[in-house]
Symmetry: C2
Subunit: 186 residues, 2 copies
Amino acid sequence: MLSVAAQQFAEKGYSGASMRSIANATGITQAAIYHHFPNKQALYMAVLARHLEEKISATVQDLAKIDDPEKCLRELIRRLLQLTEEDEHFRQLYFRELLEGNKERLTALAKNVFGDLLESVGGLLRKLAPQFDLNLLLLSVAGLVCHHVEARKLSPFLPGSKAKHQELDTLSRHISDLLLYGVRGP
Amino acid sequence: MLSVAAQQFAEKGYSGASMRSIANATGITQAAIYHHFPNKQALYMAVLARHLEEKISATVQDLAKIDDPEKCLRELIRRLLQLTEEDEHFRQLYFRELLEGNKERLTALAKNVFGDLLESVGGLLRKLAPQFDLNLLLLSVAGLVCHHVEARKLSPFLPGSKAKHQELDTLSRHISDLLLYGVRGP
DNA sequence: GTCTATAGGACGATAGAC
DNA sequence: GTCTATCGTCCTATAGAC
């Protein structure tokens, strides 16, 4: 039921997803939701907790074990790409929170999502890029990954579009190379 | 009236913004909108055309005149940051289109927004980064700029947040340095 | 070009039976 | 825990007067 709600909130947004359609897709009537959650907001918060906060910590685990900083960064990019590709709703919910999240929800997002990210890869990034601000670098990585995956819907309509622009390996190499070496390339 | 509608669509999304609230904020009644637009979709499309497609072409003009590629890239980043900061609705509408745009709307977005971008800075990027795919590079730049500005709402709640993370100059230098030199820095 | 009025439906939430 | 039924509110869109 939480995953059905996540799908609808991600695809249609908070206002666009109705309690009725979520209930119907779950297989119960709209009134029955109110036995599990007091109101729509509470249901939405439960969706966020499960879909954003749990998934990120599972994704970035074990990264600290990789010794070589460059390999570790490439692996971070690869995992984030895979997460945001496999779980379309994760990415959409994150974007929607950036757009519409109030102070309370943004605080939770910062603490639970980026807090976990920092813990896992903060050390790596500090070693790899001592000249850069850690928070800004994290936001750069998140922006690159999420935007590239989200823009795959847009990519086919761009002039000079190629099929390989859709592939995860292509995106992974592009982002990693860009981050590691800048526009001049490796 | 189009700018009022842009504001509401950007802030509350398509479903969240009602014809009533748009009309009231404009100073007319809800029924009067239907004299100017046949329905809600048509109003939304008019908003997109004005707010996304017109603004981007004004922003990237004159860039080709700058000879030094590095200066030109820095200026591109600065202008895009300024556009997406000054015109909050531009950025929000772009993100919302990425999330919810159908094929027709994404085609228009690709053609009118990224088409203009390509025309103005395509040559620069090809010269500056011959090893990188042009479309992927454009999407990287767009993702970095938009995400950084959008994430300013999130930034204060991050661990280790600093006031300067909010400043446009800081963001501009961070993004430009990262693109030009990678994580190793200049 | 804007108004009032209203149709017709979807929404969130509640009451109460089973 | 789920149902049916319903309330009150909001919504998009239309009709018709001025």
